[in-house]
Subunit: 307 residues, 2 copies
């Protein structure tokens, strides 16, 4: 199995939209730089919490162009390139590889339910074969809360065996630690990310490589402190602290909640915008949330000045 | 409420793919003509059984161009134009309206779960407003087996009230007759299609307008006979007959099963091709299925000669 490139604390990067709900590439690129400064070791633009599936492939490709053009190191990017449409998944993945991205995060074809492992295998295999590039590093995206049908361990094993250099890791967003634990045992050396910081410490203690977590958008600093110090005596306390903050943020639906927090911290109301079916929170709600998490030790990060 | 234009037996048109899994527009256009001759009153290309969500928006737009250019009356077309991505749904819907399609079939943003009615409302409203064309006729697509979250009756009512000229009907693919029945009572005059011929007779007796059914791809003639004669004494017998045929076809997964039947009937193995995660059946399986449905009275239709 190929050594995978990513470790640490990664964030599915929130996508800023303007008042007409067009993605704001300039602001997104700036935000990527902020997150890397706040503590993220790498970034996963176009994840679930990026509202990636609310955007067309063209929009995602254009945004990735802008992020890379702004000077963000493409090797630190693992963009989500999945789509139910084979051709879209291939197109986005190929583009990410050509831009030099360190990896891609690949959803199964999520419209479909009760598919066979063989069917899912052929989907992933077809994407890998069609991209046909030795630089491709795929992170499978297991997220049954959204896709309902997840990725079985037999399927994962088969993909690793068939494409040992391309299939290098997984994001486990099942919220089920037993599933992560079973994968860690069965696939040593595979790049297994917890899908939330709630399981970061457990994942590190069992051989995982980190977490890719929504709240990296607002709490990268503290989550990173736990990642860097997971073997230190205060690790369990840090874990409890960041989990408490996550719980507070989750009082509202995750995406609008995190956006409202960034809006409150920056004073920039544009951060409140979400594409439907999500509903925006208000600046007042963001401020209230900022006050609540401040009590738990999460303060506004020092912001990277806009370029 | 605006009188809606479609009634009868409609089919989500199977999409033929070539050996490289590229959609074959010439063959699709030809097939649309066959289905209209076999008994379909109108067609819904790019439905679930068309593998629409396995295709990019570009592919769907190009195929619709080819269908219309081939001479199929656009007023008889209700293409599926839904997407989780707001911009894709708008683009495909606008294109369908511009091509003169009689309506569109619109999915909710299906990646997302546990969304509010308000969020779904804003999604549909945003698509309708952005298309901004008085010719737009939307058929909502309620299909919880695929989307998990369906469309509540309160949401439907709100959309009808807000856009009485645009929101004119629904396809109910819940497989739950009680849901269809409740809508028929609550929304008189709304164009309510059963999502399967199993409920065609019940739907017609309760004020519905027909069915949009996968098996229209292979059994339009008999289903149409029931639609035309639903008030005749032999209607219950016809209903039992077509339901028995459906059950036989469903012995295999629906899409490959119907494709194998068309392959067996035409001798054209290209019909077997499916995009992953679906798995193709073999010509032999198609022939066995053809023999089984023949025993139930379903013979190969007279085929429209290729142009």
């Amino acid at each position: 199995m190929q050594q995978q490139a990513f470790t640490g604390v990664m964030s599915p990067v929130l996508t800023p939209f303007d008042k007409d709900l067009r993605p704001d590439g300039r602001k997104l690129a700036q935000f990527c730089k902020s997150l890397l400064q706040e503590g993220c070791t790498a970034l996963s633009p176009f994840g679930t919490n990026s509202e990636a599936n609310s955007m067309s492939v063209e929009e995602r490709i254009e945004l990735l162009e802008q992020i890379v053009a702004s000077g963000v190191d493409a090797r630190k990017l693992m963009p989500g390139t999945g789509s139910c449409a084979l051709t879209d998944a291939v197109r986005a993945t190929k583009h990410a590889v050509e831009k030099g991205c360190g990896g891609v995060l690949l959803l199964p074809p999520f419209y479909y339910k009760n598919m066979s492992d063989e069917g899912f295998y052929r989907f992933f295999a077809e994407v890998i074969e069609r991209v046909g590039d030795a630089r491709l590093k795929v992170y499978l995206y297991h997220i049954p809360p959204q896709t309902i049908q997840g990725l079985s361990h037999d399927l994962i094993e088969r993909l690793i065996k068939a494409y040992p250099k391309a299939v290098v890791g997984i994001k486990d967003s099942s919220g089920d630690w037993k599933n992560t634990e079973a994968m860690l045992k069965r696939f040593p050396g595979f790049g297994i990310f917890a899908g939330s910081e709630d399981f970061l410490l457990a994942n590190m203690r069992s051989g995982g490589v980190g977490c890719i977590t929504a709240t990296g958008n607002v709490n990268a600093r503290m989550i990173r402190r736990l990642f860097d110090g997971w073997q230190k005596p205060d690790a369990d306390r840090l874990q409890a602290e960041i989990s408490a903050i996550r719980k507070t943020i989750q009082r509202h639906p995750m995406i609008p909640s995190m956006k409202s927090l960034r809006a409150a911290w920056t004073g920039d109301a544009q951060w409140l915008n979400v594409r439907p079916p999500f509903l925006p929170l208000t600046m007042e709600q963001g401020k209230a949330l900022a006050a609540d998490v401040a009590k738990l030790g999460l303060k506004a990060p020092e912001l990277v000045p806009a370029e």
